[in-house]
Amino acid sequence: MNFLLSDEQLALLDALRGLLQDKCDPRRVHEVFDGDGSFDAGLWQAICEMGIPAIMVPEGQGGLGLKLIDLAIAAELVGEYAAPVPLFGHCAATIAVALCGSDAQHARWLPKLASGEALATLALGEGDSRWLPGEWEIAGEARLNGKKRLVPHGLEADLFIVGTASGLVLVEKGEGVAAERLDGADRTRSLDTVTFTDAPAEPMPGDEASVARSIDAAAVLLAADAFGGANHCVEMSVEYAKVREQYGAPIGSFQGLKHQLSNMALAVEPGRGLYWYAAHAWDDLPEKARHAAAQAKAHLTDIYLQATRDTVEAHGGIGFTWEHDTHIYMKRAMLDWAWLGQPEKHRLRAADLAGW
């Protein structure tokens, strides 16, 4: 038993952290946040050049052939830096292509998705929080009609992996595809309502299990992002408590705040083991994977949103301003919380999967 990162994994994290420190400091995140709602194309290109979207693409298709745990720890870092890039939607969609696509679909798309030449996204959500296989009502195989909600970067995407009543289908941007940008809370990861009108669609042959597995991977990636963000909120609050003085002493020396910060760290830090486990289970313990993914999504995204609330309190007035970083993390936490359905939904699902 060996529950730690390998030297290769640590090296990957070092390289990605170096890149993010360089190109994604808080000033830059605020610039993009206050911008036109699109992502940071330069940063995204650099991340693609580093091979992050290639991590889970098979080696034969231009990828690195690595595991979900490798991608998840990268997603944690992206969450830590609140990086305004389409990593989540793109990688989740890429995994779906790899798992559910035909050979022809693999050959056509995976190399471009691995390199970042094409941008993919997942179009899952419908109406009354219908996010999961079996809940999708939108139908059509060769021609798709209907509307999907909260699609990450739908405006910019070249490829949509769409959940339908008969499974996943693949739709290219263009004819019959219209994306309308929401005024999303999280301006580091824009969302669109995407309307398909007789859009040409290709069914993907993946079976139910592969579709479910694609969704599980997305859940783990959200959990990883949530952990990264939440952990950063703890660190930010602790640092502030060390330097901010009131009544002649750092506010972190007052037991009231000190205990709040301890409680916050206590809520967040143990979540690391859970999301690692969920990624590892997805990679290597297939019979445990679904349950662990549901638990990781529910637990981590709940904790993240609470951590951002605690961060506002720990900072006082400054933490409530638009100029401060806190609200950016809170809004990312909102997305992680809501996307794929709220924690409650995944807890009830986890209970079913536990056989309770």
Partner: protein, 389 residues
């Protein structure tokens, strides 16, 4: 114990209704006219219905405290959607402070014009390096001739961009101990030495401001209370800031909205209010709100009858903060997917979810409130380092 009003008040209620029937809506039907509002408020003051605690000579109606009558007025005015004479922003804190500490001249100069809305106030307590710790204020004022000359910076000054005046704390006695160094000044913001910079909130709404003072001036006579005793004057302002009635009305209306949201939102094909988890949490919040409501009634009755309110006195603000945060979270769970969409029906609730957090910061952070409850209501010893001041 009598929470109803009883027949002895029927006559009074009829009078109020009659007054409203005659005065609101205005003759020309223009609800939104400021002039109509002004005229209505003056008439209501004249009848003793508004600004009841303020003496007549300062523009109030100088009525004896009577919570039954006050409540009847509130109810009937609300039913008629008539102007309530409410002072916007932090001005409502100035009036009782002036009544307690101000000179006759100060009251005469400022109160009436505050009631009519001609003067709009901003609060100038916090500074970048002095949040809850007022002892470390750096903004200073020097008496030069018959004017105070002010230099420094204030922050978190809600609505200062729309205000005409500021009540503020400044360091006037550089060599004195911390309880004798600060004075309470009234300052006209409409002068060259004052620069106001709005700070955007995380909700995107502008609300807070930074205010910079660069040789700004105010007459010597605008000092409230004694020189160096601003500390004590402030305590009365803070007391009013923490008092509950306004917040109660706000909490009740949040709750009504929340119930409406739970009725109108579909979850798994049924109204969310039928989901047992939502339903039970809604009732739990209602139980907390009922506790706040009737404890506020109880406190008001006790205050009016000069009885000791007991430990509840320090509690409304923190209780309401908890309540607002609980409401915010339940609304989030009901709103669900829309909780990321500022263009959708969830927008209002996303904002409230965030605003509920600002409550734990504004007017003394929640930790300061906890110290206050511990020290004032429970009689626990002061912290060796700081405390509530």
């Amino acid at each position: 114990m009598d929470l109803g009003f009883g027949p002895e008040f029927d006559g009074f209620r009829a009078e109020v209704k009659q007054f409203l029937a005659e005065n609101w809506p205005p003759a020309d039907g223009d609800y939104k006219s400021k002039e109509n509002e002004r005229r209505f408020v003056l008439a209501a003051v004249d009848r003793g219905y508004l600004h009841r605690a303020v003496p007549k000579r300062f523009g109030g109606s100088e009525q004896a405290p009577d919570i039954a009558r006050a409540e009847i007025i509130r109810e009937e005015f609300a039913k008629a959607r008539a102007p309530s004479g409410r002072i916007l922003g932090t001005g409502k804190l100035v009036v009782p402070t002036l009544l307690e500490w101000g000179t006759e001249e100060q009251c005469a100069e400022f109160i009436a014009r505050t009631l009519t809305g001609e003067i709009r106030w901003a609060q100038g307590f916090s500074e970048p390096n002095a949040g809850s710790d007022l002892a470390s204020l750096r903004t200073r004022a020097e008496l030069v001739g018959d004017e105070w000359v002010i230099n420094g910076q204030k922050i978190w000054s809600t609505g200062a961009d729309r205000a005409t005046h500021m009540f503020m704390l400044v360091r006037t006695e550089p060599d004195a101990g911390k309880h004798d160094a600060i004075s309470y000044l009234l300052v006209d913001l409409r002068q060259p030495g004052v620069t106001v910079r709005p700070l955007q909130q995380m909700t995107r709404l502008p609300e807070f401001c930074e205010v910079f003072f660069d040789d700004a001036r105010t007459p010597a006579g605008n000092l409230v209370g004694e020189r160096g005793k601003g500390w004590y004057v402030t305590r009365s302002t803070l007391k009013h800031e923490r008092s509950g009635i306004g917040g109660l009305t706000w909490s009740l209306s949040m709750m009504r909205d929340l119930v409406k949201l739970a009725r109108e939102t579909q979850r798994n094909g049924k109204p969310a209010i039928e989901d047992p988890r939502i339903r039970s949490e809604l009732a739990a919040i209602d139980g907390q709100l009922m506790s706040l409501t009737y404890s506020t009634y109880r406190a008001t009755s006790h205050a009016v009858h000069d009885r000791d309110v007991g430990s509840f006195a320090t509690m409304p603000k923190l209780y309401m903060t908890d309540l607002a945060q609980r409401i915010g979270k339940l609304a989030r769970d009901i709103v669900g997917d829309d909780f990321v969409d500022m263009s959708g029906p969830g927008k209002k609730w996303i904002e409230r979810f965030m605003i509920s957090l600002s409550m734990s910061i504004a007017g003394g952070t929640s930790n300061i409130q906890r110290n206050l409850i511990a020290e004032r209501s429970l009689g626990l010893p002061r912290d060796a380092r700081g405390g509530t001041k």
